[in-house]
Subunit: 698 residues, 2 copies
């Protein structure tokens, strides 16, 4: 209360974007609700501040804390305490998951009788006390334990296309140690393709062309990868995220578990290295010159094979069931306590985690503190807000997946939206990837936050050349369970544009962050402000701020993009009818949304009919769920979006069409078009229900 009294006079300073009329997004809110919301949004904009962001950062980044280590336990305890201190309803959500435990790794080059061991740690830096004090050795989670020794094959980025190219060139990986550079796909697929090609082992390295001097000055003079930088990371590639032994079910202490021998985890040793180490291998290769575009940034021509030199690789990394936790803090909704808006960021980190994940955690904690302060000032949200720190994300999106699985029915029924903050504050250029349904609400929230002379939306729009640019939400972080499994409208919020790469390395420290992203924490504050406004509206809006017209806009764009690719002609032919229906869907959806807002403003849509409209809106995204899931991956149920099953990071939008292109499960373009036609029909019917709700009061 004391703090609030101090802060309220400051609201005037933040008023510019609210000058004159209330923002359009709130125009249809009943007056009492709107007045209250404007006051709340004022609070939510002034609470996040640089000093607190900085303090959270120091707190969470004090030590390395991969899941299952003592650092992990320390971080979980700090987070529980921080939420409790804010007054949140807090619990530690324990889980027992099948994790790797790193014991040792060695890599060495053999030339004749000579053997050179290669370094698997970053170089300590006098400029960065964290790195000097403790540099954990690098590893790839879920590498097999074992040894490999053989001639070397260079596989470029180790994509599906790269391994096909090697095969076309007549180069066998059988029994060889493959070396591939990071980039282009999820590292787990490099390992999967290498194993499938018969490799004895795999080394992955960061090429200076991709992340080092090819991009800018290396750390510590600049922010980019230096010669000893190593990217750690998981290589698990299963048909489901989360705990490998409990697909689709929570990983409780006594859950029924799969036999690990039946789970397709990597069977070859895999190890990440830096480019100083990689150069010692690559410069000794003596086979044929690589194809165009396979050349990296090291100062010699890259070769496909070695004849004289051999490489040895040994990894000890036993897998065992280990305890880790999510940390959950809640503010219960005053009106609709069952309905949940969830905001999350993972808590585990490969090393110190200043960028990944805590550039997001610090935003999450300032958002939690904002809503806690507001609640203490009498502004409890209508719907429940859940602040979540997810455990073991780095080993395969484990904590959030298990939570989605353990809250499956409740979230299907009551999950309003999920906002992901992983690595959120990495620069001052606001960015977002989002489900279509949320895009208007995100733009509206960005319009409410000041940025330079204008708003965050103005800046975002200018960078997008007249249109705020949204990313497609695929895989790679904790929205996966919410969006792709449960059909809960999801988004990531963040900021980018800083010049540097410390990702998954021992250089991911607050020293690096403050040098590269900034001392002022302006990026984190901006994201917290936009996030606060978005979440406050999701929690309090009388009519949920979902805009179904955007489905038509986005589907048109995705179909157009697909039509340019492989199988594009067949797709264009199969989707002629579907495309034609999108125009009228868009028109109807806009009319229905307007009618609903008008009815809410006029007070003709209230009570039961408003609740009915919200129920339909809440169910819109669920309409994309396929009961049997996607071909070969039943856990992934959202037919609107999924992860690219051949590269991992990329998003596949309208994935059944992609499966048709690949011929997976005998899917044809016509079959895919029939499914989407059916799903669109479901949405059309929901529009009719919304129309009825809008006119019920007349």
């Amino acid at each position: 209360m004391r703090r609030l009294l101090l802060l309220l006079p400051l609201l005037v300073v933040f008023a510019p974007t609210y000058a004159g009329d209330a923002p359009g997004a709130l125009a249809h809110w009943p007056e009492a609700a709107r007045t209250k919301q404007l006051a709340l949004e004022g609070i939510l904009q002034v609470v996040p501040n640089a000093d607190r962001l900085r303090a959270w950062h120091d707190l969470f980044c004090a030590e390395a804390h991969p899941a299952g280590t003592p650092g992990d336990t320390n971080t979980i305890e700090k987070m529980v305490k921080a939420f409790r201190d804010m007054g949140l309803e807090t619990y530690r959500d324990d889980m027992w998951v099948y994790l790797p435990h790193f014991e040792s790794a060695q890599v060495a080059v053999e030339v004749g009788d000579q053997v050179f061991p290669l370094s698997l740690r970053e170089r300590p830096l006098p400029e960065d006390p964290h790195v000097a004090e403790s540099v954990p050795a690098a590893f790839n989670a879920y590498s097999a334990s074992g040894q490999a020794r053989g001639e070397v094959v260079y596989a470029n980025y180790g994509t599906r296309e790269d391994f096909k190219r090697l095969e076309a060139l007549g180069i066998s990986c059988k029994g060889k140690v493959v070396i591939a550079r990071y980039g282009k796909n999820y590292r787990g697929f490099k390992a999967k393709f290498a194993e499938a090609a018969g490799a004895a082992g795999l080394l992955m390295y960061t090429d200076p062309a991709d992340s080092g001097w090819g991009r800018g000055l290396p750390y510590p003079e600049g922010g980019f990868a230096n010669e000893s930088y190593i990217q750690r990371g998981s290589i698990k590639t299963l048909a489901y995220p989360g705990d490998p032994l409990t697909p689709g079910a929570p990983a409780t202490k006594d859950a029924e578990r799969l036999d690990p021998a039946t789970v397709a985890l990597p069977k070859i040793p895999v190890q990440p290295i830096g480019w100083a180490a990689a150069a010692k291998i690559l410069e000794r290769m003596d086979g044929a010159s690589v194809p165009a575009k396979w050349q990296g940034g090291l100062p010699f021509r890259y070769r496909l094979t070695s004849r004289v030199m051999k490489v040895r690789l040994a990894v000890q990394q036993p897998r065992r069931i280990m305890r880790t936790s999510n940390v959950i803090g809640m503010i219960r909704g005053a009106k609709f306590p069952d309905q949940k808006v969830v905001i999350g960021c993972h808590l585990d980190a490969w090393t110190f985690g200043a960028g990944d994940p805590h550039a997001g955690s610090i935003v999450l904690y300032e958002m939690a503190r904002s809503f806690a302060d507001a609640a203490r000032a009498g502004q409890r949200p209508d719907r429940t807000i859940v602040f979540a720190n997810w455990g073991a994300e780095e080993f395969g999106i484990i904590g959030s997946t298990e939570w989605c699985e353990s809250h499956h029915d409740d979230l299907l029924a009551n999950g309003i939206a999920y906002v992901n903050l992983d690595m959120a504050a990495m620069g001052k250029n606001f960015r977002s990837a989002a489900a279509p349904l949320l895009k208007d609400a995100i733009q509206d929230a960005a319009a409410a936050v000041a940025h330079g002379e204008g708003s965050v939306l103005d800046d975002w729009t200018a960078r997008g050349k007249g249109k705020p640019g949204f990313g497609n939400l695929g895989g790679g972080s904790d929205h996966v369970g919410f969006y792709l499994h449960l059909g809960i409208p999801s988004c990531s919020l963040g900021g980018g544009g800083s010049q540097g790469v410390s990702y998954h390395s021992a250089y991911d420290t607050v020293t690096w962050y403050r040098k590269v992203v900034g001392e002022d924490y302006a990026a984190a504050k901006m994201v917290a402000q936009v996030g606060n406004v978005l979440v406050a509206r999701l929690a309090n809006a009388p009519l949920l701020p979902f805009h179904p017209a955007r489905y038509a806009v986005d589907m048109r764009a995705h179909l157009a993009a697909l039509a340019k690719g492989k199988g594009g002609e067949a797709l264009a032919k199969a989707t002629t009818d579907l495309s034609a229906r999108l125009d009228s869907f868009e028109k109807d959806a806009r009319a229905v949304r307007s009618a609903l807002e008008k009815a809410v403003a006029d007070g003709t849509c209230t009570g039961e009919s408003l609740a009915g409209a919200n129920a339909v809106l809440l169910g819109l995204e669920r309409a994309w769920l396929l009961p049997k899931g996607l071909p070969g991956r039943p856990w992934y149920r959202n037919a609107f979006a999924t992860t690219d099953p051949y590269s991992g990071y990329a998003a596949w939008m309208l994935p059944l069409f992609h499966h048709a292109v690949e011929g997976d499960a005998n899917q044809t373009m016509e079959m895919a078009a029939a499914v989407y036609s059916h799903l669109l029909k479901g949405l059309e019917q929901k529009l009719q229900l919304l129309k009825a709700a809008a006119t019920a009061g007349n």
Copy 2:
């Protein structure tokens, strides 16, 4: 005669592309002419052979021979003898031109008290006897003599945009030594822009990303540039090619000459170096990191400036009037001796010249030998064929320009076509850049030569995805005087696709050539065969094989390309009428060509009317000449094509539109459109004359 008897039976082997009917291009020829031509083309396809190509190559590449050196004199004498031995009407065409004479150069790095000199020569290679025996030091022709010493500024490729970017970044070149990498523009413009920016001196180097390990294995293991490779080359950038002191007039011994002080030759010392030398400078720079895309292939981040290090540069390169020569051999036409088809390649070389120029000279000599053999067998051409070796091309397209100037009136009246062979045989992928009027004839000639299972045209078409791809003829070689000054339809013929770069370096040896392009001389033989057929048809065709419809096709493509660039909207608006006329021009031109061919075939167009038609065809390209030339460059008179005055190598097609975009000489889009409309009208009127000729006999 003896050789011919031996060879005639071989014709059968080369018959496949002539199987059945005569090739379409000859279908309209009167039967006697066609029969004779087919026999001639048979001879012309069998004479060029690998042993002779190889022997010419050894003869011309025996020593380094830049213009004005003893090696140059030796080469001229060998060439005169070779033509005379073939029985060509041969003369040495002497000229007295203002050339640089290299005396000395030094480059050194200063760090505190330490001074490191940098090497200005290529490393000798045990694998290549030429390089071991004599490595001439590298220089840039027309560098000022003098010294420079200063801090260093890196200017990327030294393009106009790069120097603008430096200015925008607030980096002054005043008094500094600029270092720029080769590529993107003609090196003379790097020097011109550096001088304009106030630089004290300029170093140019070859970056490994552009020509070395970024492309493939370096020489001698592979064919690409190694660390000591240096690209020599002229930096003259005047508003006219040729001798600097006699613009527009022949450089005879007692010609009237400009005062050298009034000619805009470089005023700062300029020196080329290799990347091992460049690295010693670049790695010691300590200023700000370069913008994206400015990074080259050396293993550190490039910087814009140096503070601690300084570079010294000293060049002694006096300029003086020196004698050099063209070597001309002719076979006089039996029917139209005044009319001339000219085929040329320069004779001077920066070092040994195995690629540049003699991959073209060997083709020229085999073509000359083919026509000489045919003439001895009674097949004298109807029109005169001129085989030309041009002197001093490397210093600024001097010999060919002077010859065009000294034969100005005769060539304007009687020049049928010019075929350029500079570096012609650099690989087995046939390629050509050509004036629109010649493109059909070139395709027809390529159709007449076997290549694998099909013809050269088939292969060329397949590589172009269904359409043989032509380059645009801009600057950079000896066609410039013929095409851009005199309006004589010109083309370059050649082959590419080999993996290597020895351009203007001491590694441009036959050893390099045979390793990289091949031991078999198949590329050179292919180009000689296509060239022979093309020249034979230009020399003997009853109706000149010029196809004006191609003007419309190409203009449409050039206008479309221009409409996509800067000022594209204004252009599209200004050329609406012009574009509309191109369709009917194309239709009319095709109809007229068909009618003419039919009239020739029917024998209704002969004698006077055929001579009249040929006179009109011969004058078609001249119709593009602007009496006052292009803005600021009166020597360049062809309004269809010219060199890019801001980059040098690139072609500007329909240049008045480019000048309008740049605002040169207050040229506007409307003014440019008016000129092209007028020029097109001239061509339309010529079509009417051709139509009259076609119907004269009816």
